[in-house]
Subunit: 143 residues, 2 copies
DNA sequence: ATTGACAATGACAACCGTTTTCACTTAGAG
DNA sequence: CTCTAAGTGAAAACGGTTGTCATTGTCAAT
């Protein structure tokens, strides 16, 4: 149910068996690539509409979810529960976000967390640990 | 806007000017104290109802929010956007949560993060940094 | 003890992001 | 070209949360 096959199939995602290449998916992925910030599903739709393309909100939600499942985008929740998406660079990283303007900076984690999280997991008998670190503060502009 | 004054006022919260001591608030705080896990607003209400007390859902939401603002409870969001609350121990801490059963363990942070987050914030010109670390994994029971 | 002002409550409706439904369209294999 | 299952999207459903507003309760002042 959850897991999508998604093997290595060249560099074009959505080539998994039973997945079709449609205009909508192409447009959404392209648009995401141009945005550096975290955006909501609605913003994606608006951004695309502003370019003259139209994609149904339902499709935006479904596509973003698929991208998230495939690990192509990061997802995070605002404190109102809204989901924000962002095309993520390769590899593991964390975020420093301005509480006022939402400016987000991608960070490498502190060198020691990997070890710490693993040993903590071991200590409590947990497997497959993942860690998320979010820093928030007030950026120089919003000071 | 974010920061709440919350001075030392003895050990009774809800003593801020213009705040009254009501049955509902007492009951909610008491019930929270008996639950070690993260719970939703609805669960709080049900738990209280099961004890024979009745509190309106609206009041539960408002009270939990007030407690969260006052720093008396931790808030986190499930991946469905639902808010979960938990009476937190004193001081700063993090969580290790089982992705399957939601079992949550309270952790002290790795020793170096404080320094790291401060220096990272400095580097990017951010003030008032806060950090959140969430570890997730599969606990031994859910293996 | 009584009063009165205003905080608090709670049933209910509104909100809003997200998901489901379902009839219609379309990509792409044969 | 044809066929079929995947994809689409408008609209409705959903579910957690927040707003509304008439009523109730607290507590300081009397």
């Amino acid at each position: 149910m959850a897991a999508v096959a998604g093997k290595a199939l060249g560099d074009s995602a959505f080539s998994a068996p039973g997945q079709r290449g449609t205009r909508q998916r192409r447009v959404i992925r392209e648009w995401l690539g141009t945005s550096a910030a975290f955006v909501s599903a609605q913003q994606v739709r608006e951004g695309i509409a502003a370019k003259g393309d139209a994609v149904g909100l339902t499709t935006v939600y479904r596509t973003l979810q698929a991208l998230a499942d495939a690990g192509e985008v990061d997802v995070l929740r605002t404190d109102t529960g809204e989901a924000l998406y962002r095309k993520c660079g390769t590899g593991h990283h964390h975020h420093l976000t301005c509480r006022s303007c939402e400016l987000t900076i991608e960070l490498a984690g502190p060198p020691s967390v990997e070890k710490w999280s693993q040993s903590t997991a071991d200590e409590f008998g947990f497997n497959d640990v993942q860690h998320v670190i979010e820093l928030s503060g007030t950026c120089s502009n919003c000071r």
